[in-house]
Chain length 158, copies 6
């Protein structure tokens, strides 16, 4: 099995050298959920129309967080993202909010961490805005859905 | 049911006025998991001893992220945290890594978001360091465990 | 006339010592406008309902910018704001968007710069979102409306 | 008339996809003013020589703010600027301070927002340093003067 | 001998709990030098008058860096500084630039790191501005000069 | 002798125009030391094994600081680093800790400041973690060791 590339032979953390990797188009999609009671979800859904757009605020927070990924994740390479979308959908069956983020760049490393960070911060923002009503919400299933571009090839979650 | 305090009567997002709330001691604990294969967990566990301390790097990332919470969560009040601890434990039964963060402050609002942000970023950092080996890892169960201090009183997850 | 307190006797820039000023409630309100053609304003107004909430995005940008004031203004003291509101109103008579921001804190210095920064960044965000349609928009009249709390007393713009 | 590209078909805010736009040389110039009383302007002018360089501090603040644009403007693409100049000139006829900023990059999007942000933060910094003397100053006429490079071609304000 | 408080009993890094420490006035002064050739120093000295104020730019960079200390030093507590001064003096005998920074706050922890960070970043900024002329400059003697306030009492370097 | 490129002909600070410089591979190595008593060094060395990894925390702080260089140094161009390593070695002969950082990028300007910033912040972090035991530690000899890539050619410290 491969070792952990973020450490050198003596186990010291490092930002891996990507200087000689080609600049290619990269894309990554990540997803996650905020699980809550039906009453809390109803409050969010109703708010969209009239009382305040929780999902709109969380979408912006996720987009802005994608741009901060390299500040948050210590060994992550900084790269200029060329596209970020974050979608949040109320799902009555869960019940809760489904979140999906897609990030693109042209660069020497992938944008998985940017997509995962966008989902995580969008989820935290949903929690923040609704926590006065329900503290027991849970953020679940944050995962990579798709990754493409770069030498390691395409990855799609099963 | 209470409404969403982060919006005014016309549904406009706002940072809630806490000017008249007393400064009190606040504490919050949050938790979460990164679920992975036994082989990936073994790599992390073995690395601790010799090849690189994934959990140590993730701990620091979580502590530093707690200090960035108000930059990430749009309507969150900035406050100077007085303590942050982040613990990460390899759990062979899961298999995966359990994360728990505790944050304290003396302030006019709680530190739930700081604790949840610390857990989330620690989890993302674990993912980042091990993703070359396993892309299918999932971040699960990010939740508030305990909150105390302030008018709304003590909250403990069941 | 008083001199400039941000410089010492030899003209060197400094962050003024406020250590001995009492902690008091502070409030400031600032305002400004983004002036544009009627057609551009119509696009924003129509978007609110159906195609995208320019004013909602700009409001959040203004709120988040208030928290970054001390990072942007070199000699500004950092302080934890306790309330931020940013209102944006389409004004057909101008035509354009009126912006007003109010910030509060309990601290040793005022929050004028936080309110002015919130207005400025909200205005820039309106510009950014609509610039594909009209590049000749102008940001006008950014000014302090009200300031209260602290030794220098209440200020209201005429 | 074109729609607003920062929103998708359902009106959700997004960072527009620029992945397939060519990397070209980009330049933008923006301008603005801080209007004040003759006495306040005299204080700034006199300070340049002896008591503290208000315009020098504001120039640096503007340059540094250009680098923070993508952090402040939610849907703005991050890009590495290759040149930033900010000029501030005392204008006795106004009376006040004229500000002009020019930014360059090689990238996939323009640098209008970087130039406008540099002017805005330079203006706010002038306000901050002189506000003890005059609170009624106004920031006026922040606007794009020139933009070139990229598919949409050259724009010059009339 | 005392142990290292930034680690718990199992050696895990932590932000130390200062919740129960009293809020007191704190002050710290740090110093350092940038050592260079006489020709380089002459260029800086001459620039002050006519060609560009290296020391003025470095002073501002140091002041702004003091506000970023808790972002840079992983286990450092965030606290709102109430005063920052940074002085830079050309010293022909060294030859080089002497830097001294003083920081104050009212808080639960000291401001040594803020003062040391201000000196370090001011020194780096001097290096940056003059490196086209001399790459062999050295930053030397960054050290704490004075610390007062708080339980551990006054410290003065010998 | 060459003048200072960070100022224009009238002595105004500017971010130099590098738009027309070619994108080339760049590397820089910087070094520095934290000098302390033998007893303090012993505490660090012993901690590595059992009580807390001072050097590991400082290494991460240095890597993360390299990514923040353009935020700290006012006229520094932002650029996406492609590799950062920071090594810290306990040196009983000094006694103290030797620090060396290497940074790479493909860009239009060099990465000397990134390497020097990584060393400086790693040194400050060592100081922070050990200051409860010894306040008289000194950060010494921060200097450029190697620079290559770009028009000005290779530089090696003697």
């Amino acid at each position: 099995m491969a070792g952990l590339t973020h450490f050198d032979a003596e186990g010291r953390a490092q930002m891996v050298d990507v200087s000689d990797k080609p600049v290619t188009h990269r894309i990554a999609t990540a997803a996650g959920e905020v699980v809550m009671t039906p009453a809390t979800l109803a409050l969010i859904a109703e708010g969209r129309a009239a009382k305040g757009d929780v999902l709109g605020v969380a979408r912006l927070a996720g987009i802005m967080a994608a741009k901060k990924t390299a500040e948050l994740i210590p060994l992550c390479h900084p790269l200029p993202v060329t596209k970020v979308t974050v979608d949040l959908v109320a799902d009555a069956a869960m019940p809760g909010v489904r979140i999906e983020a897609t990030v693109k760049t042209s660069g020497q490393t992938g944008v998985e961490m940017e997509a995962l960070t966008a989902v995580s911060v969008a989820a935290l923002t949903v929690y923040d805005m609704v926590k006065a009503v329900e503290k027991a919400m849970r953020i679940e299933g944050i995962r990579l859905i798709l990754k493409d571009g770069g030498k390691s090839g395409r990855y799609e979650a099963e």
